[in-house]
């Protein structure tokens, strides 16, 4: 073999070896460029997650940058599932999810704190030509609709709840979130509690195995899908219903009433919420004693690492968000202000964040 060829092959091997050593993944030593979670610029906070709370966070983004703190908050509304993924990988400074972390997710997140920073109603919205607004529906009937057991809008089960209302015979198309969604969690959590059929066949999850219907990504996607299909129905955060002027159903609560989804009924549900051992608070299916409580409300959480390189910036932003200035943006969008007891316990949780 001639010398020249051997030399060039050796050179090539060295070059490739050097290149792959620099580029290999799994290197834990140096991350050369500053990353979102890696102690870079403290005038920037990066977060991602729930589309449920996105309208509110966007208001905070626009306002907080004008405050004396002058911190730019960037939030990507990619769904609760995505938010949990990102904060677990520490690729963002904070994640947002309407569903509390499961035991597995909490373990994988390695010392994450979940702090409720807003709450809201999961509304049932529909687009049916010839059907009036605010029809009455119950949990079991909605469960049957989403399981494909009730297939047209003039089904006797719906007619029973709406005497005197003219119901077209349009085919029902359930629309659901195909991405990892905290809204799906809150919706299926309620259905599991009120419909044994649903509990046996489908269950509660951020990505439930819906047996029928159309999937769409993000809250905006399910709304768009419903608007495009006559006879479609979906579950989505109330802010989207209000912003797009959509029709919505009145849901029956445990007391037998049909409260209007909004600030008052969500606050009524929050007053009787049940605390779970992991710190989350469940608001679905409030007991009959809360006569005016909305049956399918949910807290939404910000998930932050207990030790963060941007601890002080993060704490300041969270205190702003749960404080009077931040919470004031809520009601016009359909999010009640946090109950003061929650604000107090949140303050304690926020103080736990250190560097």
């Amino acid at each position: 073999m001639n010398v020249r060829r051997a030399g060039s092959i050796a050179l090539a091997l060295v070059a490739v070896a050097a290149a792959s050593a620099c580029g290999s993944s799994g290197g834990t030593t140096t991350v050369t460029k500053s990353q979102a979670g890696g102690g870079g610029d403290s005038k920037v906070l990066v977060g991602a997650g729930s589309t449920f709370v996105a309208p509110l966070v966007q208001q905070w983004e626009a306002d907080y940058v004008k405050s004396p703190a002058a911190v730019t908050v960037t939030y990507g509304a990619i769904g609760s599932g995505g938010g949990v993924d990102q904060i677990t990988a520490r690729t963002v400074d904070f994640g947002a999810s309407d569903a509390p972390l499961s035991a597995d997710q909490a373990a994988a997140c390695k010392g994450c704190i979940q702090i409720p920073w807003s709450l809201g109603a999961v509304a049932i919205t529909y687009n049916v030509k010839g059907l009036q607004n605010k029809i009455h529906l119950t949990g079991p009937v909605i469960a049957d609709m989403f399981m494909g057991k009730v297939t047209s809008w003039n089904d006797p089960e719906i007619a029973k709840l709406n005497p005197g209302v003219s119901l077209p015979d349009t085919h029902i198309t359930p629309v659901y979130r195909s991405d990892g969604s905290g809204t799906s969690f809150a919706f299926t959590d309620w259905l599991t509690k009120v419909s044994p059929d649903w509990a046996n066949n489908v269950g509660t999850s951020t990505q439930p195995p819906f047996p029928t219907g159309t999937g769409a990504e993000h809250s905006s996607g399910v709304v768009a899908a419903v608007q495009a299909t006559d006879g479609a129905v979906t579950y989505v955060d109330l802010a989207y219903v209000q912003a797009n002027d959509l029709q919505y159903a009145l849901l029956q609560n445990a007391a037998g009433n049909y409260p209007e989804p909004g600030i008052k009924s969500v606050i009524a549900a929050a007053k009787v919420g049940t605390s779970n051992p992991d710190g989350s608070i469940s608001l679905v299916n409030p007991p009959a004693s809360a006569a005016d409580a909305y049956p399918d409300a949910t807290f939404t959480y910000v998930i932050v690492p207990q030790s963060s390189p941007k601890a002080s910036t993060l704490k300041d932003f969270l205190k702003y968000a749960i404080g009077p200035t931040g919470q004031a943006f809520g009601p016009p969008l359909g999010y009640p202000k946090l109950p003061s007891s929650i604000v107090a316990s949140d303050q304690q949780l926020i103080d736990k964040i250190g560097s």
């Binding site: 290149a19 990619i78 439930p208 047996p211």
Partner: protein
């Protein structure tokens, strides 16, 4: 393809001069080639690595199990494989005859003045980004099908199994049509080249013997190019199977198998695009990576097979 490097006719003594510049250039260029090999290996290793948990948990059973349940944490790709095959098959069924006809038009039938403009338009169709086609699909094609085409089809073709259902603006049908738009230019430009490559004397001979142009095409040109057409169809199939973005925009991400061509469904690539960014469990993420492995295997097989056919044809043509 030339048959040897451009310098092989220069005497060896002249070529073997040892120069630093040559060694450097050959080294760096060789490094690029090795880098390419490393890239391919790395690609397979990383994707299979992501799928490892699902591969060991489900094995090959994944391919013929019809479930996608995050509550029970068990997954199977059969419904997705069904969706992928149906959309690809329908797209090819419509696209291939169209594309061959277009290839014929551009190589034989069109007046010379029209060949470049029409040919350019067909190639530009291939250049439209898939996300733009998907946007058009969601906001224009889907609603159009939902309001006008699907009710018509249900009313008149509803007796055919799988063609009876409820109209929907998202589902298999818009996905098939969008994939058709993507596959046509690929197969058409290859067909055009193939038909142009048929030796002139064969074509003239048939015409001189009294064949009509169509008979010449059917009896002489087609048999000549049939191998190449198979390769073109394979490449079109690979494209249709691998398309994720436009399909996920219009297919309606359903978790269960569709009962009609109008119903929402899902394909492997589309499910991957929709769910990979945020999963409920890590086994789910790994199962999605398993889908990527299946897509990778399909694309490797179809592309290598197509390339082998193309080499064989080129060798045959080269010996003329």
């Amino acid at each position: 393809m030339t048959t040897e490097t451009p310098t092989s006719h220069i005497p060896l003594s002249a070529r073997r001069r040892w120069r630093l510049g040559d060694v450097l250039l050959q080294g760096i260029a060789g490094a690029a080639a090795l880098g390419l090999a490393a890239l391919m290996v790395l690609l397979v290793v990383e994707v299979v690595g992501q799928a490892h948990a699902a591969l060991s948990e489900f094995g090959l059973g994944f391919l013929h199990t019809s479930v996608w349940n995050t509550v029970k944490d068990t997954y199977g790709a059969l419904d997705l494989i069904f969706g992928t095959l149906v959309t690809a098959a329908v797209a090819l069924l419509i696209a291939v005859p169209l594309a061959i006809a277009i290839g014929l038009f551009l190589s034989e039938l069109a007046p010379r003045a029209l060949r470049t403009p029409v040919g350019t338009m067909v190639e530009l169709l291939a250049a439209i980004p898939s996300v733009v086609l998907g946007l058009w699909g969601i906001l224009v094609l889907g609603p159009f099908l939902n309001e006008h085409v699907e009710p018509f089809m249900i009313a008149h073709l509803g007796f055919v199994p799988f063609l009876d259902g409820f109209p929907s603006p998202v589902g298999l049908l818009p996905a098939c049509l969008i994939l058709t738009l993507m596959v046509v230019p690929i197969v058409a430009s290859i067909s055009r080249e193939l038909f142009t490559s048929v030796p002139g004397e064969l074509k003239q001979g048939a015409l001189a013997l009294g064949a009509t142009r169509w008979e010449m095409v059917r009896g002489v040109a087609m048999p000549q190019v049939s191998g190449g057409l198979v390769a073109a169809v394979m490449l079109g199939f690979g494209r249709a199977v691998g398309e994720a973005i436009a399909v996920t925009q219009v297919i309606g991400g359903s978790l269960t198998r569709p009962d009609s061509i109008y119903a929402p469904a899902d394909t492997m690539a589309s499910r991957l695009a929709a769910q990979y960014a945020g999963t409920a469990t890590s086994l789910q993420k790994s199962s999605l990576a398993y889908l990527a492995v299946i897509l990778l295997v399909i694309s490797l097989l179809t592309n290598v097979a197509a390339q082998v056919i193309v080499r064989r044809i080129q060798r045959r043509l080269g010996h003329r």
